[in-house]
């Protein structure tokens, strides 16, 4: 068994490399073909089995301590292969990152082809996509020094000029919505809303330096110092808030255990999960 494994693990070069690579590709495609032609009634079982086995790896890796494995010296063999699992999942996962790109290509490709309203926006999508990708690849791989230098400048302008500014500005829009909502929407309609807003106001003052200035007329030590805004706010954060957040956290703890079990054992029901594969 191990000799077969070793034979597979040997790096190949030259024509051997080509043969092995093609062979592996053929085998891979054959497996995929086999999967696509699996009869529908077995499909759910296969997905459930894969999910279960994948989960079993990490479950046993934790639940069975080294002493219980029949190995000398005592160790958990599943822990040993963790670096390999890390590398493998990382690479397979990075193939998935292109999924979103594919989706965007479909949507904007259709918009450009149809020439409908706002098609130029979709064209701008494609132009900016290829501009930054091209500039990035050229700066790394171009043999010509001038070309590589120019690409690097273009890349920098696209990245730190446009991309980072656009991203940061998009996120910062929310600040404005908070401002107008503070004025128009946050109404103290009930006692519980009043309590929440009071706690929020004290904590908002306690967090920033001006909070310490507001109650600076109170002494720094002694009983009265407990009334300083920053003290009250910090106490609210570290005592009542901590307890409330922990209560929520325990709910999440049990909830995610239940969710994990439902996924691991494929117990989830509902129209999405029951659909015929």
């Amino acid at each position: 068994m191990s000799s077969v494994w070793n034979w597979i693990a040997i790096p190949r070069h030259g024509w051997q490399f080509a043969v092995f690579l093609c062979g592996a590709l053929v085998i891979g495609c054959a497996v995929l073909m086999l999967l696509t032609s699996t009869p529908p009634r077995y499909r759910k079982t296969i997905v459930a089995a894969v999910t279960f086995l994948a989960g079993l790896y990490y479950a046993l890796e934790f639940l069975i301590p080294p002493a219980l494995w029949p190995l000398k010296p005592p160790r958990n063999p599943l822990s040993e292969v963790q670096p390999l699992v890390a590398t493998l999942t990382q690479i397979i996962w990075s193939f998935a990152l292109l999924l979103g790109v594919w989706n965007l290509f479909l949507i904007h490709g259709r918009a450009v082809a149809k020439h409908g309203r706002g098609w130029y926006n979709s064209a701008a999508f494609f132009i900016s996509f290829f501009a930054i990708l091209g500039a990035g690849l050229l700066k790394d791989y171009a043999k010509n020094a001038g070309l590589s230098k120019a690409s690097e400048s273009i890349f920098t302008v696209l990245f730190s000029g446009f991309l980072t500014s656009l991203d940061a500005t998009m996120f910062s829009l929310i600040a404005f919505y908070i401002v107008s909502a503070a004025y128009r929407a946050f109404r103290v309609k009930s006692l519980e809303a009043a309590l929440m807003m009071a706690a929020a106001a004290i904590i908002m003052l306690a967090l920033v330096p001006v909070g310490a200035e507001i109650t600076n007329w109170l002494p720094q030590a002694g009983l009265l110092s407990a009334l300083r805004v920053e003290r009250i706010g910090y106490w609210l954060l570290t005592s009542p808030n901590m307890a409330a957040q922990r209560a929520i956290a325990f709910g999440i703890a049990v909830g995610s255990l239940a969710m994990g079990l439902r996924i691991w054992l494929s117990l989830e029901r509902g129209n999405f999960f029951d659909r015929q594969l």
Partner: protein, 286 residues
């Protein structure tokens, strides 16, 4: 209609201009004064990093990108400066495609300012797509095998700073700088099982939820948003420098007061208009 009621009909765009003006003043002025109060969790973070032995490295794990740059970059810069100043080696690990570029630029800038060198004092491991759990879990067993190369494709075994890093035994602390709920992965798969200290630098939005973990000691310290960064700067001896974090702390002070005033005014106007509605009888809003 009195003044308060008239105020109710203010256009929201006027409010937008007002908040911009309120914030711009401290930014233009750039005060050097840092917050006088340093929260316990910030001090603990500082002391934890202070105690990291010189033969160990610190992992700075950055999940942030440009979207939350205003909060996470000052934290990252303060931590990097502290580590470079005291000569503790560190590696930066980025989980965000854009952030990987930004964190590299930050570290390069501070490192050349302090006369330190890439490779001997610090290393950037580049962008990692995840899945985070698998990578963090594998990291405890073998640092070299999981990361292999730095952001330039150079073997970690051939870089002085990372040459001798084997596994969790050579990692003195982890600093997680993040705008999302990723810190649980470090707690569960690395810091708790291997008993390595963990510093948490979240955006303010997530800070309130972190207090149970500070209480239990699963987090050894925390820098809460840009305020945490400003407080940290106070600790590393920058309290009299005109930094962005200090200016932002004062700008935030103005913003918070402005918001509280708006809420109070809005509610007063609302209460009044409700009262006059009742007197007028049956006039509903909208």
């Amino acid at each position: 209609m009195n003044v308060l009621e008239k105020l109710q009909t203010i256009d929201r765009r006027v409010l937008y201009l007002l908040i911009a003006a309120v914030i711009a003043v401290p930014l233009l002025q750039r005060p050097s004064r840092h917050p006088r109060i340093v929260f316990a969790e910030v001090r603990n973070a500082y002391e934890t990093l202070q105690k990291v032995p010189k033969n160990k490295i610190v992992i700075i794990s950055c999940v942030w990108g440009p979207g939350t740059r205003a909060e996470n970059e000052p934290q990252t810069r303060a931590i990097i400066r502290h580590l470079l100043m005291q000569g503790t080696r560190f590696v930066i690990l980025s989980w965000d495609q854009l952030g990987s570029q930004l964190t590299y630029e930050d570290a390069s800038e501070i490192s050349s300012e302090l006369g330190k060198r890439y490779g001997t004092d610090w290393v950037h491991l580049g962008y990692n797509p995840g899945p985070m759990y698998a990578i963090i879990r594998g990291l405890g067993k073998s640092f070299q095998e999981v990361f292999k190369v730095d952001r330039f494709g150079k073997k970690l075994r051939s870089i002085p700073a990372t040459r001798n890093v084997r596994d969790y035994r050579d990692i003195g602390a982890v600093v997680e700088i993040t705008p999302s709920g990723t810190v649980a992965s470090w707690i569960a798969y690395f810091n708790q099982p291997f008993d390595v200290p963990l510093i948490f630098c979240p955006t303010a939005v997530m800070s309130a939820e972190a207090y149970p973990y500070l209480d239990s000691g699963q987090l050894d310290g925390m820098l809460n948003g840009v305020i945490g960064a400003a407080q940290y700067e106070t600790l590393i001896g920058m309290e009299n420098e005109r930094t962005y974090a200090a200016a932002a702390a004062w700008a935030l002070s103005c913003a918070h007061i402005f918001i509280i005033v708006l809420i109070v005014l809005g509610n007063l106007g609302y209460a009044l208009s409700k009262r006059s509605t009742r007197r007028g009888g049956g006039k509903t809003i909208g």
